[in-house]
């Protein structure tokens, strides 16, 4: 008969659910107490920050609490880098930090002491468009254009890091960037074309 097993199962289930309940309740209380005690210090901390932004050395004094995205957009007025979700999900804020693509909404500004930052405004070296920008334009790889800055920065990293070997590889690498207009096919087309030319970008 299975009665015995059933009883064991129920006892086990009760034990497990009690443990789970304790697990879920306890942290909330701890976190709450911590959050209330966590009073923000005054005066507001200002930190000295030296960054190289698009090849230009900047000596700044910034609020220690802001992200590199808010520093760029609100303080320095470099609005080419877009703010989408501020949760690291959409990729609209992608920039290059020391040549590596990074979601700028996930980084505190002061964590980038002496770092070299490239935004969409710094991609264009001369009068001519950067090859990736030209390819995006040619393949109509955007509609509203809000994700485009992030897409282009990610795309450049994709080609530079040699991840653009096939359409699937491109798709896998570019899954960090969301496009609500659904221009994905054209974005992959653009990246594929730039990768095929083999130009150093």
């Amino acid at each position: 008969m299975k009665t015995c097993n059933y009883n064991d199962g129920r006892r086990g289930f009760l034990k497990k659910s009690a443990t789970m309940a304790a697990f879920y309740l306890a942290p909330t209380t701890f976190v709450k107490t911590f959050a209330i005690d966590n009073v923000v210090p005054t005066p507001i901390p200002k930190e000295k920050l030296a960054i190289t932004l698009n090849g230009k050395l900047l000596n700044l004094e910034v609020d220690a609490r802001i992200t590199i995205l808010n520093l760029l957009r609100e303080e320095l007025n470099f609005t080419g880098t877009k703010k989408g979700c501020e949760m690291g999900q959409c990729g609209a804020c992608t920039i290059h930090i020391n040549g590596k693509r990074t979601k700028s909404c996930m980084q505190l500004a002061v964590a980038n002491q002496n770092n070299s930052i490239t935004t969409i405004e710094g991609l264009q070296q001369s009068e001519q468009l950067h090859p990736m920008q030209a390819a995006f334009l040619k393949h109509d790889a955007f509609q509203c254009g809000y994700c485009t800055s992030g897409q282009i920065m990610s795309a450049v990293a994709c080609v530079r890091e040699g991840q653009a070997k096939s359409r699937d590889a491109i798709k896998a690498f570019m899954d960090t960037n969301i496009c609500r207009c659904g221009a994905y096919q054209n974005i992959v087309d653009a990246i594929e074309e730039v990768a095929k030319t083999g130009a150093k970008i």
Binding site: V31, K32, A35, I36, N38, V39, V40, T42, P43, I44, D63, R65, I66, N70, R73, E74, N77, F78, T79, G80, T81, K82, K83, T119, I120, E121, L123, Q124, L129, Q133, A134, F136, L137, K138, D140, F142, G145, Y146, T148, S149, I152
Partner: protein, 142 residues
């Protein structure tokens, strides 16, 4: 000058906003550089239905950089809109919409119940998390 457009569906050099968008020069709504800009965050309700007995905004107002906290007690009235039960139609859909922060009634989960206004993003975030821990209003809500 180009004269024949008939045979091409896309002509990239004529997309009016194309170059602006790929170079990041295109200005979207939040990107116009206005002087004296203030920043705001909503405090939202953590219950689905009820009324606010008391909302403690003193902590938020005491934070550096905070300009004001707008909520039902100090929200400017909307001309021609009356939320008092005697004057409005019984059918909720006839109220001509929900006016945010207008009264102390909570009608849905996540409803904005207060608006913290400050002079910078960092200040408004700090005021929010200091006065409403974990994003929860410290009001006595029933």
């Amino acid at each position: 000058m180009k004269t024949n457009h008939v045979n091409t569906f896309f002509w990239e050099d004529e997309r009016v906003d194309g170059v602006d968008k790929v170079t990041g020069k295109a200005k979207y709504t939040a990107e116009h550089n206005l002087p004296n800009l203030a920043y705001a965050v909503f405090v939202t309700s953590n219950i689905a239905k009820g009324s606010i007995k008391n909302l403690d905004v003193s902590k938020a107002l005491a934070m550096p950089g905070v300009l004001d906290v707008i909520y039902y007690a100090n929200c400017p009235a909307v001309p021609g809109y009356n939320s008092s039960a005697a004057e409005r139609p019984k059918n909720v859909s006839e109220w001509r919409g929900h006016k945010v922060l207008y009264d102390n009634k909570v009608r849905f989960f996540g409803q904005p119940i207060a608006l913290i206004v400050a002079d910078s993003i960092a200040a408004v975030r700090a005021a929010f998390s200091a006065s409403f821990p974990l994003g929860k209003p410290n009001a006595a809500i029933i």
